[in-house]
């Protein structure tokens, strides 16, 4: 079966620093793939290369049969890639439900319409998405008054609006309390399972990673150093060395902060 996302030989340099170095991996249908690694390992760069925010120097990124390299984020989104950001990005001048309606309007290519009232369009669908992420009761609130966890849920609803085949979630639980993290990831994994969506996510919280990922890939200094099911990655000595330092010797100095 062809993977949903396949990445081959992805590389990106910033000046003299190779942020992502010859990374290859794939995401199978319905799979939750976690990308982990210490700070500076190249996770966010990798994400932005896949999502179109950055352009790779080398390598291929394919969604099913579509080549995504060089496409702007908006085109990648139209192929069915939803995105949430490490620091939430929502539309402040719109209410919660209008944020979702905006994504639906864009998905149906109605953005050029000058006359219909946007707030009357796709209301039912927007409310259904909000209800699925548990935000129905906050539909008419301003985004500026939402709690951080609720903003993350809103981003999830927005990302789901275009019926994506793949979700890119950059640190979906960053900045949240531990109990909230578990809740949000449970919500995310139940939604993607019922809709058959594949997920690529980065995460610092190992409890979240090992509880929800089907497979894990490990980056260090831009290189892919391990990949496999959680148990295998957990047992991998090179991964342990990255996270704990090898026994008896101090952690290597000069590792990027």
């Amino acid at each position: 079966m062809t993977p949903v996302l396949s990445v081959e030989g992805l590389s990106k340099r910033f000046g003299g620093v190779t942020a992502v170095d010859d990374v290859s991996f794939s995401v199978a249908a319905g799979e939750l793939l976690a990308m982990i690694g210490p700070n500076g390992a190249g996770k966010s760069t990798c994400f932005n290369l896949v999502g179109g925010q950055l352009k790779p120097d080398r390598g291929r990124v394919r969604l099913f049969d579509h080549d995504l390299v060089g496409l702007p984020p908006r085109r990648i989104w139209r192929f069915g890639v939803g995105r949430t950001f490490q620091i939430t990005a929502v539309f402040q001048s719109m209410t919660v439900v209008e944020n979702v309606q905006m994504a639906l309007i864009s998905g149906r290519r109605r953005i050029g319409a000058l006359w219909p009232k946007a707030s009357h369009l796709y209301v039912d669908e927007a409310l259904e998405l909000l209800s699925r992420v548990g935000m129905l009761d906050q539909a008419d609130r301003a985004c500026s008054v939402l709690a951080y966890g609720d903003l993350k849920r809103l981003e999830l609803a927005v990302a789901l609006a275009n019926a994506p085949k793949l979700l890119l979630m950059d640190e979906p639980t960053a900045g949240m309390a531990p109990a909230e993290r578990i809740e949000l990831m449970q919500l995310t994994s139940s939604i993607v399972r019922e809709r058959g969506i594949s997920v690529l996510f980065t995460e610092h919280d190992m409890d979240v990673v090992f509880a929800h990922a089907n497979r894990i890939i490990v980056l260090n200094r831009g290189r892919l150093v391990a990949a496999g099911v959680p148990a295998a990655v957990r047992a991998d000595p090179s991964v342990q060395e990255i996270y704990l330092g090898s026994a008896g010797t101090p952690a290597p100095s000069g590792s990027p902060a």
Partner: protein, 619 residues
């Protein structure tokens, strides 16, 4: 060949004062994040003060060189005073209000200069020791210009040493790169800001003073130089002194050779170069990534909602009130009311651009003026009826906005704003210089409405109907999918692109829509006045629009209505009492900015909201 060299040297000489002004503008912006419109005023004051001190109009004549230096020092002191007394109070206000305050200073200085020195041009003396010319390659070349050619690199070198070799310079560079971090490391910001302002003002004052022997001192040189300085800073990159140096040479050389080779298209040349630079390097030759202009800083922003029943009733009552005005008002009052309505429409179109689409324009006069000229040209050259000319006005404004917008949406924030100003200035120059078509500064006369609309009452009703209709349509667009798309791009480009929105395309069309509606206002204005002059494209019109929108509160949908009403009324009333209305308006603007940093409607609206919430919460 010799001619080319001489012309090149001419260009270098005229680059000097441009560089001095632009460098100061750039340094001040880098540290304080203030786009100092008053920088041109510093330059003008430098020139006038140098004239007075050198000639000894009041007190003893200092002689040329001491007079030049004394003028620059005096301007530096004025700059420092301005920073301490005014800007220091408003660093916490949104950036656009700081800009508004510096506009206020521009207006005040303009009238002060007229009061003190009068309207006639002042010719300065020659520089002792540098009179006459030297013979260069068989051409006569002014000695003084050689001095100016040397001055640019000398100042650049001095600034370089100042920034690299002194502790103060290191602090300035630190603050330019990261103001918060510099403050967190214990840098005394107050002192730093004041001293940077003093330095910037000194450079501008010096720039004005040294050109005394070259060109006459006159009272419109402030806006002329500030527009050029903006172009320089945009090309060179904001915050970069070396960039300002390169760009001022490029600009001055373009002017020097353009005037010889294609005198009619010099400005187009300048514009083309700027366009090419910006398309290739959106942050200028040596600039770093853009700085966004924030309309509101750190304030949680409420969603833009369709207006409340009460607000709608107010607007409705206003329209109704206007509808019965002709019963009680005479022709003069009607024409004043008509003019105010036209500016309400203009302000609303600008708010659509700034508040809804997030693109701050310093050059909205371009659209207004193109609307006016489109209508007038159609009447003058095609003898078209009013209705057709009106449509031509809207068409020309929309077309102009499409062209200008195509470039502008490639940029964001301050760069975008400065580019709009540059384009507006180009449109102004074309109207001013293209005698054969536009009549130059003689304008186009005889742009009267059709016979059926000729009476003031009918034209009043026509304007009321058009303005109301335009208002309704723009409102509708704001809450339509397209308006949502514009707001999405304003709120978060990252998110907008991640849900499939093509930011540039949406903003480009938004720019055109705003331009078309400003064009409607401009065409109405042409018929109201019966004539069109290049003034309709000039900087003050753009500034008027900004003041109206900002006074009204940029986020309030009805803000521009109140802002335009208050400001235009004030302008008309003051102008009928005093010749120095700019002075009064400048003082009022500064007072309003200090007192109401959220705008009038914003201020009272927030108080009103707070009151309503209190009442609802109390048992």
């Amino acid at each position: 060949m010799a001619f080319v060299v001489i012309q090149f040297l001419n260009g270098l000489a005229s680059a000097a004062d441009l560089f001095l002004v632009s460098a100061g503008l750039s340094i001040i912006f880098g540290v304080t994040r203030i786009v100092n419109f008053a920088h041109g005023s510093f330059y003008m004051l430098g020139a006038y003060l140098a004239f007075t001190l050198v000639e000894g109009v009041v007190g003893p004549a200092l002689g040329f060189w001491p007079g030049i230096v004394a003028a620059a020092v005096a301007v530096a002191i004025l700059g420092g005073l301005l920073e301490v007394t005014l800007l220091r109070r408003i660093y916490q206000a949104p950036e656009l209000f700081q800009l508004l305050a510096t506009f206020g200073v521009v207006l005040i200085v303009q009238d002060l200069v007229l009061l003190v020195w009068g309207p006639e041009d002042r010719i300065g003396p020659r520089a002792p020791g540098l009179e006459g010319a030297v013979s260069l390659l068989g051409h006569q070349f002014p000695r003084y210009d050689l001095f100016l050619i040397a001055l640019g690199p000398i100042v650049l070198g001095a600034l370089f040493l100042l920034f690299r070799r002194t502790r103060w310079g290191i602090l300035v560079r630190a603050a330019t790169q990261d103001r918060e971090m510099a403050a967190a490391l214990g840098v005394n910001e107050r002192w730093l800001f004041t001293s940077v302002f003093v330095l910037g003002a000194f450079l501008a004052g010096l720039g004005g003073a040294v050109q005394l022997p070259r060109e006459a001192v006159h009272h419109t040189m402030d806006l002329e130089i500030i527009v050029e300085a903006f172009v320089v800073v945009v090309i060179g990159g904001l915050g970069s002194v070396t960039g300002a140096f390169l760009a001022s040479i490029i600009l001055a050389e373009l002017n020097a050779f353009g005037i010889v080779i294609f005198p009619e298209v010099t400005l187009v040349l300048v514009f083309l170069v700027m366009a090419v630079v910006l398309v290739i390097r959106p942050t200028g030759l040596l600039g770093r990534p853009e700085f966004a202009i924030r309309a509101a800083s750190g304030v949680a922003e409420p969603p833009i909602t369709p207006q409340s029943e009460a607000a709608r009733n107010w607007v409705f009552a206003g329209v109704l009130g206007l509808a019965v005005l002709p019963v009680v008002a005479d022709a003069y009052v009607l024409s004043v009311a008509t003019e105010i309505m036209i500016f309400v429409l203009f302000a609303i179109s600008l708010q659509f651009l700034m508040g809804i689409s997030g693109m701050v324009s310093f050059g909205h006069a371009a659209s207004f003026g193109l609307g006016a000229y489109g209508a007038a040209l159609m009447i003058k050259h095609a003898g078209a009826p009013m209705e057709l000319a009106f449509l031509a006005g809207i068409g020309l404004a929309a077309l102009g906005a499409l062209v200008i917008g195509w470039f502008c949406v490639r940029l964001t924030g301050v760069y975008l704003a400065m580019l709009t100003l540059a384009f507006a200035q180009i449109a102004w120059s074309v109207a001013f210089q293209w005698y054969g078509v536009t009549g130059g500064d003689n304008g186009i006369l005889g742009v009267w409405p059709a016979a059926w609309a000729a009476s003031p009452i009918v034209f009043f009703y026509l304007t009321l109907a058009v303005t109301t209709l335009a208002l309704v349509i723009l409102r509708r667009i704001i809450f339509a999918p397209f308006g949502f798309g514009l707001r999405a791009c304003r709120d978060s480009v990252l998110r907008a692109e991640a849900i499939g929105i093509d930011r540039r395309q949406v903003q480009w069309l938004g720019f055109a829509v705003a331009g078309a509606f400003a064009g409607v206002a401009g065409a109405l204005y042409a018929f109201l006045k019966g004539s069109v002059f290049p003034d309709v494209l000039a900087v003050p019109v753009s500034v008027d629009g900004l003041v109206m929108v900002l006074l009204g509160g940029i986020q309030r949908l009805n803000g521009p209505i109140v802002g335009a009403l208050v400001y235009k009324l004030l302008q008309i009333v003051l102008a009928s009492y005093t010749d120095y209305w700019r002075l009064v308006i400048g003082v009022i603007i500064i007072g309003l900015v200090v007192a109401f940093p959220q705008g009038i409607v914003g201020f009272f609206g927030t108080r009103l909201d707070a009151l309503l919430v209190q009442r609802r919460n109390s048992p």
